[in-house]
Every structure is written in C-alpha cells, then in structure tokens.
Amino acid sequence: MDEFLAADDRDIVTAASGDPAVELAPMIALVGPPNSGKTTLFNQLTGLRQKVANYPGVTVEKHVGKVRVADDREVDLVDLPGVHGFSARTLDEKVTRDVLEGRVEGINSPDALVLIVDSTRLENQLMLVEPVLQLELPTLLVLNMSDELEARGGRVDDTALAKRLGVEIVRTSARIGVGVDGVRDYMATVRVSAPDLDAPKRSLTNVPGGVPLPMVDAFAARRRLVREIVQEAGFVQPGPSRFSERLDSLFLHRVWGPLVFLAVVMLVFESIFTWAVPLMDGVEFLIASSGNWVATNMPDTWLRSLLIDGVWAGVGSVIIFLPQILILFLFLGVLEDSGYMARAAVIADRMMYRVGLQGRAFLPLLSGYACAVPAILAARTIDDERDRLATIFVTPFMTCSARLPVYALLIAAFIPDEPLLGPLLGKRAGVLLGLYALGIVAAVGTAFLLKRTLLRAEPASFLMELPPYRIPSPRTLALRLLDRSKIFLRRAGRVIFAVTIVLWTLTQFPRTELGAPNIEESALGKIGHVIEPTIAPLGFDWRVGVGLVTSLAAREVIIGSLGTIYGVETADDESVALQDVLRRDLSPGAAIGLLVFFAFALQCMSTVAVMRRETGGWKWPTLQFTYMLLLGYVGAFIAVRVF
C-alpha cells in the first residue's frame, strides 16, 4: 500500500515540475473476454514495441507495449488476461481486477480503458460491461469481428449502443487490421488524469457492492440489464457460422473426431522429432564451430577452459532444443488460434478426467514430449489451480527430447538389434517404446494419486468455450514465437549457465602442478566416490555417479561427462568407443536400471527453476524432485534385479 501511494506521489511531483520532456505517457488498459480478439488488437497496435514479464508474485504474463498515437506522442497499453468476470477465482481474474483498480506495483493506474468484445456474441460478451463501467474511467468499446457479424446476418446500432452505455464505440476486424486506426485515434485523446486522492477507491467485484444479494441474483440482474441494452441497440444475433458447424461435424464426430485428434498428435510428434532434426543439427554445428573458433583464438588458460568446457558445452546443450521448441510452438499456436485446440481439449477431457486432470492439460502434456520447461509454462491456460498443479507436477514424466540421446546411447550399447515382434518391431524400438510408456504410466499414476491426496477437490466444472474456426494471424503467431523463445532462453539459459559453471569449477580443484586434476582426483570425482555407496545397489559405479550429478544441468550432459571420464575423444550418442567402455563397466541389468532412472528422475535444473517460478515457492519443486528421484531409484533397483 505504501508503495502504491509513493508511486502516486512521484507522479504528482513529475506533473507539477512542468517539464514537458518528462510528461508521463497515459496508461490504457485493454480488457475483454477470452477469444474476443484482444491479443490480436494489442499486437496490431504495438507490434514489436511490447514487453512480456510476469506480474509480481504470480504466474500471469504481463504484456505491456507502447502505441504511437501521433508523431510526437505515445501511450502505454497493457493487455490484460481474457476474463469472463471479476470473481478473483482464477489468477487471471485477480490480476485483471488488480490492474484495473490500480493496485499493481509497477503499473500506473489506468487513465482509460479499451473494452473489446466479439460482436457476433454481443449479448454474452457484454456481461463484462457493467462492472467495467462502474470504474467510471473514460472507456472505448471495441466491437470486434464486425465483418463476421455482418457476413452472418447480424446487426447492431452503434450510435444507440454508444448512447445507452455512455462510451465511444469503434468497429474493428482486428485480424485483418480494419478499424485499428479508429482505436488509435481514440487513444490519442486520452490524457493522464491527475490522481484524485479524495476519490473513493475503485473496486470491481462480480457482486455489486453493498447489496447483500445472493450471487445468482446479482448475476441475473446483470444479465437482465445486458438484455435491455442489446435490445435497445437493436442487436440481431447473427446466424451460426456454417463453416464452423461443418468443421465441427468432422472434428467432433464420434468416429472421425478422435481419428483427426490422433492424426494431429502424430503430426506434432513428426514435426518435433523429424522436421526439427536438420535445424537442430544446424544449431549444433554453429555452436561447435563457434566454440572451436573461440578455442583456437584464445590462449590456453583456465578462462578458455571455462568458456569451452563450461559455457559452450552447457548452454549449447540447451540452445540445441530451440528449433524444436519453436516448431512445437508454431504448431500449438496454429492449433490454438484456429480454434482446433478447444475441440482437442474437449476430446481429451473425458480421458484426462478419469486420471484426475482435465482437457486443457492435454496441451502441456503434449508439449512435454519436446521439453518440460515450455510445457509447464503452457499449463497456465488451466483455469483450475489444483488441476494446473497436478498437470505441471506430472509433466516432467513425459519423455522429453533431452532424454533421447541418453536412451539412444544406452540402447545402442546394450540392446541387441534383433527382431522382437516379427520384422516390424525390433528389440531396440521395443525398449524405446517401453520407456515412453513407462513415462505415461508414471504420469497417470501420479496424477491419480495427487488428486486423491494433496490436491483433492470437488471436480471443477470444466467449461470449454468453442470459438468459431478462424485463420490464424501470422503476425500474432510470429510475435508469440518470439515471446516463447525469449522466455525459454532466459529461463533455461540462466540456470544452465549457473549449473555448468559450478560443475566446471568442481572439475578444476584441487589444483595440481600441471593445472586441473584428472577427473577422478577432482572435487567432482570425489563427489562421485561419495555417492557411490548409495548407487552401488543399482549397479552404478562412481563414474556413473559423476554422470548423474552432471546430468542435473540437463539430462544429455551425462554423455559428455562419461566421455570425459573414460577419456573417450568423440563422445556422442553414436560413439562406438563409449558404448564399448560402458559395456565393460555396466551390467545389462544396470543399463536397464539407468534407463529407468532417466525415465523417472527429475534430472533437470531448468525444470526445477521453472516449477519454483510457476508455483511461487520451493514446496512443489522440492516435493516433485524428491518424488521423482525416489521413483527413479526404486525403479532402477527393481530393474537391475529383474534383468
């Protein structure tokens, strides 16, 4: 509260100083229900001049951008999460309410509002209008998708509506850029309002203040008001979208629906595992050649070793996944913006519901096959907090692509290339499939367990709005990809950077006359020896121990570490030399044990860091790390005795 007042005081001082150079830009908030085209309009107005961050203390993304409204003037625009109301039941609603009430640190109280609605569903969308108008801020009502409204035979009298609500109105079709200038013109008229400290605090609720009505009556009253308003404005509901109906009869068909769903899932898999490979090879080549360049152009000092063995190797191992993550997000973006994702969530819901999750969990779990970090971020769309926690808790069980190089190395070394079920399925492919299945079983079992213990709750009333199908806007897709890659690189990059420097340091001490000690004598090697008794029951020696410790940075780092320990020159997942020494040191049972360990254990500090960020504390990541480690240990313990 103090900070809030302090910020206001600062504004007054600035305004009073009379220096035009420091004139504050007006703050405008963009508010509207989900699927109203809010983000499309935001992107049209701000383009690349936007920043994404989190609201303080919560996981809701804050999108703020600058809009140039005249040659020498600009305004700040904040894109609020799409909401249906202000119950503060979900984080999105709480954040929206706090921003509108001017209670968020770092965001000035808005000077004006832009309320955007899908005009084809005006009556439904105007449920937000009453609480928003109660704020008594200058407001522009944007009737979006007005091209669709007319094309489908709908009508509304803008003038009558504007008069009835006492706001200005602009019609837009934000996806194709129609009417955006009108919004900009309105924004040009907004001025910074002097904070009126005597004014009563603005407040937003679903239930109008002071009236002790049961909630259902408060809503019913609002509903009647909205009906009156749209009737006075001569609103004619457009006919249903034939195009959407036709597509739905296919995508939600009893037989074809699930088949299309499976085809889409397979297409996403194909794209992240096949199409991304050349790009990932390209990135790998760039990292390797830039590393070589640095290595040949730097004197052979500890700094070179830190850069090459630490930073390049560690951070490079994460950047390699960027093409895959971009392709994944391009696909998910197209599915989301076209309207198909909502249908996919409906198809997946029954299945997810059985294990205690819900339809919206399908997207993060699918993303988890590429990388758990963006997948955990994608779970933000799950409106029920318990469902979201359960989903991000089990997401790391999905076989992410960092596990693949480890699987490939161990399978090639230990599993004979023999047919298992006829010529179609070999033993090697069978083991790989088994590991994928193991991940799914663990995820399902864990979700089931969680929803019966820590996250027990009445099943949330899953409600999925099915927006009409639309062609996604390339601009919105591109901006989102840019966003996602920034978040991924920042989140994963920082952690990997820190972890690799620590690991590298551990390989450099204690120093000998010749410089760095050999790996067994180093601090890292000693750690390997210290944990050896713990992992001996799994058939692992200190070398694997060192590999396990280093793989905390990222799972596939174990390959490079084992290569270093065994003094193998070219260590990668196809390295025959490394396979040979591994066969000498590991029993086949222990190798299976190691595979199982990797299927279960949370060997990924980036995931832990993202979990901390997304759950707002250490409780969930600690629990998750311990649980998955125990599961990995027990799994390997059993495997080494069975095989």
Partner: protein, 101 residues
C-alpha cells in the same frame, strides 16, 4: 440447425409437467430449454453464471462430443460441458421454440 442462435425471447411459464426433474443431460439435441435452477455449490456455479448460464436463460444442446458430453449453444456461444455438470442443470422444455425448419 439455424435455430441454435435464436435464444430470444425467453418464454416464462412455459408448460411443463416435470418441473425440477428434467435435467439438461436428458434433453435431446436441438431441443431448446429454459434453465430453471443450477444444482451446484456457488463456487462451481460461478463460472457458469459468468458465461450467462443463469436461471431464465435459453440453452440448446447442439452436439455431443465423441465421449458423449454435451455441447450447448447459449447466446450465440458454443460451450462444452461435462455430463456431470449438465445433470446438475434443471431445465424445462420451451416447446414454442422448437425447431421450425
């Protein structure tokens, strides 16, 4: 199927013999009904209220999901529900608004 968007006017006092017994889950496709009562605790009902699913509104089941959950049309929006929720929505049939086509 063009009737789905036609949600006005709400007919009060529509004839109904089984008021309170009839649930949205029992309603055949394309039969418009009026919602009478939501048999759910407030915290579960609030998201429904926010989307305009309130006593007096007209709902029309337009489709079943492949798993048999209802997809309904309300105020021109399509909403997918779970059948467990649909079974908590007490409705009465709006015979006057039956599909004319």
């Amino acid at each position: 199927m063009d009737h789905t968007a036609r949600t006005l006017p709400v007919v009060q006092n529509a004839p109904s013999e089984r008021e309170g017994d009839l649930r949205l889950g029992d309603i055949p496709l394309r039969q418009a009904v009026e919602l009478i009562h939501i048999d759910l605790p407030v915290e579960q009902a609030e998201p429904l209220y926010e989307r305009g699913i309130l006593p007096g509104c007209t709902i029309c089941p337009v489709r079943s999901s492949p798993s048999g959950d209802p997809i309904v049309s309300i105020d021109g929006s399509l909403l997918a529900l779970r059948r467990e929720v649909a079974d908590c929505l007490c409705v009465r049939i709006l015979s006057q608004l039956k599909d004319a086509s």
